[in-house]
């Protein structure tokens, strides 16, 4: 009950933040504008074709990821410092509230805020994709197969892959939120912002750190060990980056539901680990 109360209050507070509202509105606006891309961009000349739809999907998923990234970072960095600065934490922790309840409540509130924002963007994005797909056609025998085009067929209106894409974006940034929540226990919001940014960039480059730390790598053993530590400790955000896979049927994952399940477990495990560390540090934190 206490955790839920703190979470609800966090959501109410976060949703009223002007800066987060701006991120959301701009992202929605750009997703809607992407409807007219085929008419304006020279590299996509076949209006109403499957290429245009792919462009809208690719742009929309990328844009949602950027907006969710900004939302989780901007909201996450101030989760704890803001409570201390505004002194709301004093009246809460002076009540019979365990410190872990406060941390879990704040994280849950942040995740709910992220979920609401991603869900709103996701609904608009999928609606835009459906609208774009209306009346659009694609070749029956695609060029990539080397076979001649035997005709055109109607593009499917609803693409489940887009739903998986939205879920992946949400999962990815629940992990980033947990990282900045941990940092917010002991770092100022500005330092935390750049730390969170750094962790995200390194996490996205997980395939590179994996290669650099592999046995085949020509690097000095000390450097290899360093990259191994980085690769192990920093969350692998690349796992969540499935845009290409979702957009290109030839690279599609065998079972998207199964993959999402595994990635969900990964996000859950990492978030719980971050929360555990945050709770341990916050137990002795002076406020």
């Amino acid at each position: 009950m206490i955790i839920w109360s703190i979470a609800k209050t966090t959501v109410g507070d976060a949703l009223r933040k002007k800066v987060l509202q701006i991120f959301l509105v701009v992202a929605i606006g750009l997703i809607i504008i992407s409807l007219s891309f085929s008419q304006t961009l020279s590299f996509s000349s076949r209006a109403g074709s499957s290429t245009d739809i792919m462009l809208v999907k690719s742009f929309g998923l990328g844009l949602m990821a950027v907006a969710a990234w900004l939302i989780s970072l901007v909201m996450g960095v101030s989760l704890i410092p803001q409570e201390i600065e505004r002194r709301t934490i004093y009246t809460i922790l002076a009540k019979p509230v365990k410190r872990y309840e406060f941390i879990v409540g704040k994280y849950l509130g942040a995740v709910l805020t992220l979920a609401i924002n991603v869900a709103i963007m996701g609904v608009v994005f999928i609606a835009v994709c459906v609208f774009k797909a209306m009346g659009a056609e694609q070749p029956i025998a695609p060029e990539e197969t080397g076979l001649p085009i035997v005709g055109m067929q109607q593009v499917g209106l609803f693409d489940w892959n887009m739903v998986w894409g939205v879920i992946m974006i949400f999962l990815q940034f629940t992990v980033l939120t947990s990282v900045v929540l941990l940092f917010s226990v002991f770092l100022t919001p500005t330092v935390n912002f750049f730390m969170g940014l750094g962790v995200y960039i390194i996490g996205v480059m997980a395939p590179l750190t994996e290669t650099l730390s592999s046995k085949e790598s020509q690097l000095h053993p000390v450097l290899k060990a360093f990259y191994r530590v980085i690769h192990t400790v920093v969350p692998n955000f690349d796992k969540f980056n499935v845009t290409n896979t979702l957009l290109h049927p030839e690279t599609h994952i065998e079972s998207m539901a199964k993959y999402t399940g595994i990635v969900t477990l990964y996000a859950l495990f990492y978030s719980l680990l971050m929360m555990l560390l945050a709770i341990i540090i916050f137990r002795k934190k002076e406020v």
């Binding site: 209050t9 009223r16 009246t91 019979p96 509230v97 002076e286």
Partner: protein, 306 residues
Amino acid sequence: MADAIAVRNLTKVYGGALKDRVPAVDNISFTVAQGEVFGFIGPNGAGKTTTIKILLGLLFPTSGEAEVLGKPAGDIETKRRISYLPESPYFYEHMTGAEVIDFYCRLFRMGAAERKAKTQELLERVGLAEDGHRTLRQYSKGMLQRIGIAQALINDPDLLFLDEPTSGLDPIAHKDITELIASLGRQGKTVFLSSHQLGDVETVCDRVAIINRGKIVKIGTLDDLLRAGRTVITFAKAGSELVEQVKPYAERVSADGELVRVYVESEENVHSVLDAARGKATLVSVLPQRQTLEDLFVEIVREVRK
């Protein structure tokens, strides 16, 4: 009966560069009895809020012990029986007054019906029954302070920590809150009151501690601390001869039209002045004046600064 608060050799040094480490609280010891209204006064930066935060478990002592209601400070079960009103409290502005109280009720794991009744009762008690539906963004400072008081009364606490509860309030709100504190004292609640409003402290507190630069420099009941001051004797129709005659016994003599006021320090001199004036002037009044807490506070702080 066990003390409500027991502090023994408590020291708090904040982190930072070693050369900057000055104790915010420096080896202080004191107790507060149950049912006592205890004033904790001192200039800005004296260590008042640090002490309160240690007693609430928000800060941890560098050394020494702090007990609240017989348990170490910060004990979660003890928090069911205490409450805290911080200086200039801030609450979530997007919530209404009623929602804020409901939120704090939830922190005590109260059920829906109990929360509803409690919210109504407390809003009425602090005079906000008509404004409970308005968001805190629309509240004045005095109204926010009243919400702060309301959240501090949710659990009908045995011990209340009030940090500057009347700071920045208009005279009506000020009076209401001072009366509320006095009524809590009458109900047998223990109140730990930190305030710069020395008149309030003098009115409502049973005992007072003065803290300066982290050290307690005076502690005791107001009767113990405030010495009997001077006596003002007022005469009418006193001639210049009498004025000259009483001057050796007086600290000061002032004339105001027909009235002459003689300010006398000791009881012995009061008798000497009255004897000297017998038959030479009309005695209007003899008023003993006790030293005020403000006088004592200023005297002590200036002395320490010297």
